[in-house]
Subunit: 513 residues, 2 copies
Amino acid sequence: MNGRGKSETRHAGMAPNSVRARRLGLDTQYEAIVVMHKECDVCRSEGFSAHTRVLLCNGKRQVIATLYQATGDLISHDEAALSESAWRRLSLNEGDTITVTHPAPLDSLSHVRSRIYGHDLGEPAFNAIVRDVVDGKYSDIYLSSFLTACAARPLDHKEVLALTHAMVETGERLRWPAGIIVDKHCVGGLPGNRTTPLIVAIVASLGLTMPKTSSRAITSPAGTADAMETMAPVDLDTAAIRQVVEREGGCVVWGGAIKLSPADDILIRVERALDLDSEGQLIASVLSKKIAAGSTHVVIDLPVGPTAKVRSAETAKALSQDIVEVAETFGLKVKTLATDGLQPVGRGIGPALEARDVLSVLRCEPDAPQDLRQRATALAGALLELAGAAPPDGGETLATAALDNGRAWTKFQRICEAQGGMRVPPTSSQQRPLLAERSGDVLAIDNRRIARLAKLAGAPDDKAAGVDLHVSVGDEVTLGQPLCTVHTESPGELAYAFDYASANHDIIAIREP
Amino acid sequence: MNGRGKSETRHAGMAPNSVRARRLGLDTQYEAIVVMHKECDVCRSEGFSAHTRVLLCNGKRQVIATLYQATGDLISHDEAALSESAWRRLSLNEGDTITVTHPAPLDSLSHVRSRIYGHDLGEPAFNAIVRDVVDGKYSDIYLSSFLTACAARPLDHKEVLALTHAMVETGERLRWPAGIIVDKHCVGGLPGNRTTPLIVAIVASLGLTMPKTSSRAITSPAGTADAMETMAPVDLDTAAIRQVVEREGGCVVWGGAIKLSPADDILIRVERALDLDSEGQLIASVLSKKIAAGSTHVVIDLPVGPTAKVRSAETAKALSQDIVEVAETFGLKVKTLATDGLQPVGRGIGPALEARDVLSVLRCEPDAPQDLRQRATALAGALLELAGAAPPDGGETLATAALDNGRAWTKFQRICEAQGGMRVPPTSSQQRPLLAERSGDVLAIDNRRIARLAKLAGAPDDKAAGVDLHVSVGDEVTLGQPLCTVHTESPGELAYAFDYASANHDIIAIREP
């Protein structure tokens, strides 16, 4: 007989539905998982079957987890084995007892269904949904359905307001003494468009306050936080951020570490799996972070191009209007800039490769990518003007001077030091060039597929992985010339990326003359 | 040092990405899961992180699984531990080696996104999606997004055709020698509406061929297969079904066991979690099963009522038209009947309780529920007429006679015997009546919430669980009179169901006189 069998099932004095918590040492990322024996008392008396959602409680701490059931001797009858995510959320110590029960029905799901069936949602509905999301009550199935429902029939103005409000209210908020707090955001879709560290360095060197909280990649091979992390620590708490900003006037940190709009951090993971961004979700995601961060003046970069996230000038205009309108309701001054989104910006695509480009612009190196430099000064200029720190049409000149005279570079190094110390971006262990299969002109570079290639190479999880572009649209190339170099940290990913590249010859399209 | 540590990592002669398969003894239902050590060679060289989707291969057998990573000594470095679902799909034996690699990108997801963004899908798109679903390549996130996208903007006629076709093509098909094969279906939403076993018994006793494949519950507390299973085995393979039908002219079996429209079986699980049925999905689900089952004449029951699945006569008419049109394209003769969907049918709600009602109608017991009997004879009558086995308007008389003269009851017992032996439906271990909190008339019974109550009580997983109604709309009741009895198999579920009932006093609404 199995020594962990039924005889040990009951402990004198244990409350009903109580089991001993065991740490399974299982990394499941955000997903909370619990494994119990199929024949244990709790599973039998509660009628639990595999894949049931169950409520785990340790005193007042609770988490909803997905139950799997062991049939062999993996788990004894009086235990519940928890994934690391569940273990941490419950603040457990080995040997603690927890209770496992049915969770209350998730009433907010009726709002999700209501939206699927064509009804708009009001503020109470969004509050209920977002609260349940933040409390970890939504499984992947529910998160995916909610996001898809918000993408399939666009959220209207009132709904975007309500969602934004709900996302702000369920998180922390930063408050600053200064009157003007500036910020910027880029509505993704353009690989390598890493202007943020440059803009922060420029405007902070000119006296503005820019406490920048950035996100990690959603559907792209690198977010600003991913790239910045290769140059300095970005996981700072509220107190540390305040110190950096008080000292240097600016920072570039990961917003997720300080729980501004935590709903967004949960939704983003599923959006990433679905490779999905809806306009309403996007506006709520961007503005909830800005509002929670205490910003007053914000410039938003909208790259427009056939393979960028925003495909046409009309879409950019409509999106721009919607953003400005929602922002106004929250007392936020926003200016949007529709920028050229034809092809990737700079050369590197991937956290460390993009950081290298940023550093070369800051250092005014002769071969620094000029397109990245120009975009940064244009956006920084707009921000200086919006905040009244430069006369109308005088912002870009001021911004360019701050780069040229080295003040921005000095400021950037000071910010990195203040965030915990400047780092040298890592370089990859494996590289392989992708060669031109014919001579001719570069006709187009597909933003989505080149981003995909960088992701297959391991970005953003592998910081040094990605793609380094050697050509731009319009360049003349000859047969066998390297078009780009794929950087990876493993032979498996190198092979995987090249499988994709060979099935997609026209990621960098060449027209024979 | 841990005896399962790094030193054992490599086995001479093992192929790259090979690991030893270990049976974890973990019931995860349909979900394929693999656990590997976070630091093992394969995870490191492939860049796998937790929650990655990975491809497991055992020779030509393959499955895509969700990867979790162990950090302690749960798993050694040369092992991959598999859930039961993954183990079975790969037909593994202990000690077999498998390979673990990146799966190819799921191209069909671009079609899902395309539909979310407002584009209709053609036949190739649906074929690609449904093929990937059947091959187990869609995670819950993808399944949920696809279903939500099909519900949020209804599928048009062409799309429903294409989806139906794809679902038929990816499964088995039954072929019958007889010219006319009849069938029926009820578009759910009405608890206790268990007419199918009665109709099969009636029409088979009158010489028609009705090889009925039924589903298990989607969003309801019992499907026909769940109820029938309490009276006879329903998991029959194609050969066994053929034998039963040849001998008795009819059967009531679970369709999922014979892989008619296997995509439907996968999608239904997520629909159940979402409590979601879209019209297009519903038509494709119903008709793909009928077409695959080789039916030629089908009657469809559309219960209409304020809390039924179909809410109005107009919706019923439109749905009816859509069903008939799609069916015609596939050469199927369909007649729909809009029926009264005001309140539950019969008394029992839950597999065994509904079976008890069916048996009492077949046995012509004096207290048999008359509403159930009348619905069954009306539908059987329509089917007899549609198939030409009764003159116009003469079907119902014929059907009623078959019940009254005992031929249907005899036929039903013979069918149960042929399916593997008749069973007595189980009775529950725990019961508790829900008492009227005032005197008055029963104004309404909420189909959705009474179904919910039965589900919270444990139905359909616990066969004997559910709700037994003692009143109908219009009945007079006095304070303290039992309105219904909740049946469960566990005290936990009894408490859970009553928590819900006390928070929902008006599931059975009483109007004071």
